[in-house]
Symmetry: C2
Subunit: 224 residues, 2 copies
DNA sequence: GTCTATAAGATGATAGAC
DNA sequence: GTCTATCATCTTATAGAC
């Protein structure tokens, strides 16, 4: 299976065919920079410096290449944060890492890539599968941190880490899209979210009296 | 200016050329259902039941038509909520109206339209202008409500209504995209956000003691 | 104002030489 | 494994008949 080539070959393990590798990288970059609307075989091949026909030889279809490229890309970027996430134990730290991650991934273009992928996924089942995979990878990492950070605190019984992780991921994607048309507005939105995060953090650190009052109110509100 | 036709004609005021009107509606629907990647003159014209060449006669380019269609659509949908928003005076009511709006706009497809528009706007300046316009309309409405609801309460000094409105708009768009690939996950995310909203609501309704403690903590955290 | 016809180019994908 | 050449099909946009 050195490379009879019809498609699979999975992860970038061992030594991958250099053309395959170039195409994977070029596909991710094209998605980031040209968006889903401009995603076509020729632009990708041009960026990779190889012939357009090789996309179909190696990956069958353009969507097949994009699928493989997204999986490789998300595998790499989540791995990068895995141990950083593992060291986070408080909400304060989580907010700090979150800000750092947000800035780094933004300039790497991975959030933009996810946004374009999700937009295209609404109509293309192959892209939808890739998008599902990517979102699951990210939310799994985030969910684990949120769960650990909330554990033991008063928020443990109120917060659903799985839901929060998904809301965070989706929210960042929406903000990234919004930033493309109104950078100042998106920045204001992000700041507001950080303030809200700080608020929750404060809540998590409340004295027992206020904490009890809070819990009672929450229960009453839920019932209503 | 009944219709010498080269382009403008602005709002759907008075009596608009029926072909123009059909094209505007068809463009919005095509954007909702086919997405930005499949957006082309022929599918739009087919949906409108008119000839493809009329798009260029009436709107110059496909992007010009989409721009006009989005502006008309957002004008209509924000107007629909204006008086409903005006009657909201508390955070509880805001959350209820928000849920209602979310469901109604989702089934109308307006959030999906905005998401596809934003995705395409990253690469197309004409679409970016339309997206800016649409986001401004929505955030202006939401910002006014948030400001009114927060006014007088303890959150007034902590919350930035403009930023919150933008975060809400962008967040819903991200969730809409996410729902297209993982409906259950998006639902969990939305529920988590509603819980967080209820939490903030409780905060807004806290007794003076807890309120003072909260304020002090927030100030300390901000300084750090 | 609307149509048909068409130009000029981009698209995914394949066949076959090397 | 990579290339050239090519297909049928799609795209935006225009010219001109009606």
């Amino acid at each position: 299976m050195t490379d009879g080539s019809p498609f699979p070959a999975g992860v970038a393990g061992a030594a991958m065919n250099p053309t395959r590798a170039k195409l994977l990288a070029a596909a991710a970059e094209t998605l980031r920079h040209e968006g889903i609307a401009g995603l076509a075989a020729r632009p990708i091949a041009a960026r990779a410096g190889v012939n357009q026909a090789l996309i179909f030889y190696h990956f069958g279809t353009v969507a097949g290449l994009v699928d493989a490229a997204v999986r490789a890309s998300v595998e790499e970027s989540t791995a990068f944060y895995r141990d950083r996430f593992a060291r986070v134990t408080s909400l304060v730290e989580l907010l700090q890492v979150g800000r750092e991650l947000h800035e780094r991934e933004r300039s790497a273009g991975n959030v933009a890539m996810m946004a374009q992928l999700l937009a295209g996924a609404q109509q293309d089942e192959a892209l939808a599968a890739a998008a599902r995979f990517a979102m699951q990878r990210w939310t799994a990492e985030i969910e684990a941190v949120v769960r650990r950070v909330v554990e033991g605190g008063p928020l443990a019984e109120l917060a659903d880490p799985a839901g929060i992780a998904r809301a965070i991921s989706a929210g960042f994607i929406g903000l990234e899209l919004y930033e493309g048309v109104d950078a100042a507005g998106a920045s204001a939105g992000l700041t507001a979210l950080e303030q809200l995060g700080a608020l929750v953090e404060v809540l998590d650190d409340l004295g027992p009296v206020a904490r009890r009052a809070l819990r009672a109110k929450v229960r009453r509100t839920r019932a209503g």
